[in-house]
């Protein structure tokens, strides 16, 4: 039994699908925010997986550092996006006493 690139990439794809579902199908602003977080997290995990399993030899360490740097930047952008999204969700809640973001506020 072993863990390779495909297993981590499958998990990353599942995370991306869950995030995309939240973005498309849910009406709550909080769930939509969580969906965007999952989409970004899936990208970061894919970077890390390619860094860990992508290349062997002398370039492996450098590749892992590059992938880690990308994941770090993606995570920072995700946190920044969450900060703005949380403020917008708070505004939506104050306007309508609900986190629903669609037109009918159902």
């Amino acid at each position: 039994m072993s863990v390779g690139l495909s297993a981590v990439l499958l998990a990353s794809a599942a995370l991306l699908a869950a995030g995309a579902f939240a973005l498309v199908a849910r009406r709550s602003a909080v769930t939509t925010l969580l969906g965007t977080q999952f989409v970004l997290l899936a990208g970061a995990i894919a970077f890390v997986a390619f860094g860990r399993f992508g290349v062997q030899g002398q370039a492996a360490a450098a590749q892992q550092n590059v992938a880690g740097s990308m994941a770090l930047v993606v995570g920072a952008v995700a946190v920044a996006e969450l900060a703005v999204g949380v403020a917008m969700a708070a505004l939506i809640y104050r306007e309508s006493r609900s986190f629903a973001v669609d037109a009918d506020r159902g």
Partner: protein, 185 residues
């Protein structure tokens, strides 16, 4: 740098493989729970658990610094932001069960069992301790890469985070300020 070369090297150490598969499965389950649960509080709890599991995944396959940053900064800041949102809007509901009720006892038992499992894995494989000596060298290499080759990216991240903090602060401050009545009342 091209993504070609020798064949990828999978992880074959049995306890580590089991741990990674467990983390991946729980991570997907947590993400699905976070998306599908109707209760905002439970969804945020599942999201925090998913972030925690991602940090554990980083511990196994990524540089140690990334695990530390994911756990200490990204996970905690995200959870605090979402908890602050709940506290500011719909609020936390007081628990309707006592501290020694059946639900709390079952939860404590599950937590103790998971902790014992982690202890057994650590004792059998001496995995985190064995890896810690390599972690220092790995951290140094990673930080050197980030600070030497990605200065512009770091500066961009600082600007993005600063702008986000400023923007969210202005949004919240603007919504709390008293509104002046218009001409028509």
């Amino acid at each position: 740098m091209l993504l070609i070369g020798a064949l990828p090297q999978p992880i074959t150490s049995a306890p580590l493989v089991v741990l990674i598969y467990l983390v991946l499965i729980l991570m997907i389950a947590g993400a699905l729970a976070s998306v599908l649960l109707r209760s905002t509080l439970y969804a945020i709890g599942a999201f925090a658990a998913t972030m925690l599991l991602v940090s554990i995944l980083y511990l196994t396959i990524a540089p140690f610094v990334l695990f530390a940053v994911q756990l200490l900064i990204f996970t905690s800041v995200s959870a605090l932001l979402l908890a602050g949102l709940l506290r500011d809007t719909s609020g936390f509901q007081r628990a309707t069960v006592g501290p020694f009720s059946r639900e709390w006892i079952i939860g404590a038992a599950v937590a103790a069992a998971l902790l014992a499992l982690v202890g057994v894995v650590a004792a059998v494989t001496s995995w985190p301790i064995r890896e810690s000596s390599q972690a220092v060298a790995c951290c140094t290499s990673f930080l050197t890469t980030v600070t030497d080759e990605y200065r512009f990216a770091l500066a961009t991240v600082v600007v993005v985070i600063g702008s986000a903090a400023l923007g969210s602060g202005l949004l919240l401050a603007g919504s709390r300020a008293p509104r002046t009545p218009g001409r028509r009342g």
